[in-house]
């Protein structure tokens, strides 16, 4: 965008009735598709959408079934942010007005293979919105471990067995990585907290500069939950403190909601088959890591 449009608060009744993302072949109950759907209703039809190889592109672009009613293009897996940069540059060169450039990439496409391009784009202060829908594994290719797969999760490349109990790694802190670039605006959200997510997409919409949203988007197929539990499990992640809703703006961190007491992590994990193998020791480790993450973010909030 050349001029920052006047910010408007999005309520369900004023949310666009348009459905620019329809007819896709995502699994029933797919969190990722809800992340894309809600964001596009906020951004409107004058939007250029970029998606890399991943669930959303795979389900939305199988010729002749093309599920994006607005301009949309698939990028290479590593190239979401770089293709977006080229689009943003061309839009400036062509003196286009009143448009948005948005990218939707998964956790693998963002924090692993796409990190180089994302870093460069933030460094160049590109005028666009990058939304990472995080289903915590390479779901499109069959649930393999990614850099954002949480500790202990069973995936097809980090199965639970005698030698190891699921993923040994911890989730890369993508929000902090992005904020450390000094990005104009970054936020975390979930597909279950729709008003909060919509508000943040709207804030990104009106930010002149680079915006990044990290959205928790549960995957029934990969997480081992029923297709109707997607939003319930996303709420569970927030309620037990495993997912922190926060923003980074103008160089300052801000936590949106700090629960006085967390709901038990064990209950949240027990609801997902991908954690079924975990014992008390692993759950304790997860709680400890959660507490450490909260402390670190609270220090950043205090220090910012």
């Amino acid at each position: 965008m050349v001029e920052a449009p006047r910010a408007r608060v999005q309520l369900p009744l004023s949310l666009s009735a348009d459905e620019p993302f329809l007819g896709h072949k995502a699994c029933a109950g797919c969190g990722g598709s809800l992340a894309v759907r809600l964001a596009l209703k906020v951004l409107g039809e004058r939007t250029f959408v970029v998606l890399p190889a991943g669930c959303m592109s795979a389900v939305g672009f199988l010729y002749p079934q093309l599920a994006f009613g607005c301009n949309a293009i698939i990028s290479t897996f590593a190239g979401t942010a770089s293709m977006m940069s080229g689009i943003a540059a061309a839009a400036r060169a062509l003196k286009l007005r009143d448009y948005h450039v948005v990218g939707f990439a998964g956790d693998g496409g963002t924090a692993d293979i796409g990190l180089q391009a994302l870093s460069g784009a933030i460094d160049r202060h590109e005028n666009f919105i990058y939304i990472c829908y995080d289903n915590e594994a390479y779901m499109n290719t069959g649930v393999q471990k990614s850099g954002l797969t949480p500790f202990g999760a069973r995936t097809t490349t980090s199965p639970a067995g005698k030698n190891a109990m699921g993923s040994r790694g911890r989730k890369k802190d993508l929000f902090e990585i992005v904020a450390a670039h000094g990005i104009d605006y970054a936020a975390t959200a979930t597909v279950a907290h729709a008003h909060d997510y919509i508000r943040k997409v709207d804030k990104a919409r009106t930010t002149v500069g680079t915006s990044f949203l990290h959205v928790l988007a549960p995957c029934p197929t990969g997480w081992g939950i029923d297709s109707d539990r997607t939003l319930e499990v996303a709420r569970g992640a927030v309620d037990c403190g495993l997912w922190i809703q926060a923003e980074y703006e103008g160089g300052h961190y801000h936590i949106n909601k700090s629960p006085r007491r967390f709901k038990p992590v064990a209950d949240h994990l027990a609801a997902q088959k991908r954690f079924a193998h975990l014992g008390k020791a692993e759950i304790a480790a997860i709680e400890k890591e959660r507490d450490g993450r909260w402390k670190r973010l609270q220090r950043l909030v205090g220090g910012g």
Binding site: F61, T76, S82, M84, S85, G86, I87, A89, A90, A117
Partner: protein, 406 residues
């Protein structure tokens, strides 16, 4: 010194002394790319440096992106092209291979990007000097590939390349190859056309195949087994059409600027030649001189310079070699375990005809090793010997350090 046009751009009445890289930068500047993606690699760096200087001085109105890798460079160019903007980038060897998936993406995506490639040896071992392994390793990537002989051609083809790429019947990206250091860093006098004239020759890029706020499209989509083949056949046919388009563009360029280059191949004294050396790039200058010397000594020698490797100028090659008794292909690459890529293409083309010269492959100049006049004369000696006796090894590495006994 120069004639100032209405927009302040100077057309130089006298040639400017510049390197091959600078000539490419000039040609790209005159073509008015709207987006330039830049990532440095030896020996291409001067191209992007010059362009950045002109952008900084307000002499070139381009969006200049400092990208974080070559993969991102081509990715960004594709994004720009997807909006219908003209885009340019440059690379070499390791960078070209790093963006390898993007090469196919760009050609399959029918993005008419122009990219200069400074031909350089591929690691390992590391070697920054010129050979042609890099571009010849990606001949199948769907890019039009042109091989430049001198700095004037570098400038002129940088302009022609956009006209070819963006033609509605083509819509295929173009790779301009210059021999690393030998051509990129050698200085020659180059005539620089005026901006006004170039603007008339090369108008703005217009295409219906793009994302458009008024007429939204979905691009870069998936096509399953039921449809993918048709997209690929379409792509192949567009590449074949580029031959005729390139000839038309060259003729039009010649009419406006007084210089043209002759299309897919340039035969030199091939008409009645017994022995023909096929080659590409800057070494053609050396070979031409040897051909003249041999002719003066009564040997019916000739050279066939290949300018376009893709689309492969089949017909022109067959025509030029139809009378030859022995044909050698001199190139700076090898497909390990077989032969040089150009040799394979030339040989397979002749195999589909009744023309049966003796065929030899001369692999030379790897990693920047100099090719001498003596080397080239020896090649013609071997071609002459091959007329008399069936050649043993068809693939010959030139000027290799080897023990003579055992």
């Amino acid at each position: 010194m120069g004639r100032m046009s209405a927009d302040g751009a100077v057309s130089h009445a006298r040639p400017l002394f510049m390197s091959g890289n600078e000539a490419v930068a000039w040609g790209a500047r005159l073509a008015r790319p709207q987006v330039i993606a830049a990532y440095p690699i030896t020996p291409q760096t001067v191209v992007i440096e010059r362009l950045s200087e002109w952008v900084a001085e307000g002499l070139l109105d381009s969006e200049f992106l400092h990208v974080e890798s070559e993969h991102s460079a081509l990715s960004a160019c594709m994004g720009a092209s997807a909006l219908g903007a003209r885009s340019f980038t440059a690379t070499s060897s390791q960078g070209l291979l790093y963006m390898a998936e993007c090469l196919h993406y760009a050609s399959g995506g029918r993005f008419p990007i122009v990219m200069m490639n400074a031909n350089r040896a591929l690691a390992l071992p590391w070697n920054i000097y010129g050979d042609q392994q890099d571009s010849l390793a990606v001949l199948s990537s769907g890019w039009i590939q042109i091989y430049i002989e001198d700095a004037q051609e570098a400038l002129d083809m940088s302009i022609q390349a956009f006209a070819i790429a963006e033609h509605a019947e083509v819509l295929t990206p173009v790779m301009l190859n210059l021999d690393g250091f030998v051509l990129t860093h050698t200085y020659e006098p180059v005539e620089v056309p005026g901006q006004e004239d170039v603007d008339v020759f090369l108008p703005s890029f217009r295409t219906p195949s793009k994302m458009d706020l008024e007429a939204p499209t979905n691009m870069g989509f998936t096509a399953g087994p039921a449809h993918y083949t048709e997209f690929k056949v379409q792509q192949h046919r567009a590449m074949l059409r580029a031959s005729q388009v390139a000839a038309q563009v060259d003729e039009a360029f010649g009419q406006r600027f007084g210089r043209c280059y002759g299309g897919g191949v340039v035969p030199y004294r091939c008409g009645d030649a017994d022995l023909v050396l096929v080659t590409l790039g800057s070494v053609a200058g050396l070979v031409r001189g040897v051909v003249d010397d041999l002719r003066a000594g009564g040997v019916a020698a000739g050279m066939l310079k290949l300018r376009f490797l893709r689309p492969f100028p089949e017909r022109e090659i067959v025509q030029a070699l139809s009378g030859a008794r022995a044909v050698g292909v001199l190139e700076k690459d090898v497909s390990f375990g077989n032969a040089g890529a150009v040799f394979s293409d030339v040989a397979s083309t002749l195999a589909s005809t009744t023309i049966r010269p003796a065929l030899l492959n001369f692999v030379a100049g790897l990693g920047g090793r100099d090719i001498s006049r003596d080397d080239v004369e020896r090649m013609f000696d071997e071609l002459r010997a091959a007329c008399v006796q069936a050649p043993g090894e068809r693939v010959r590495f030139v000027n290799v350090q080897e023990s003579r006994d055992g």
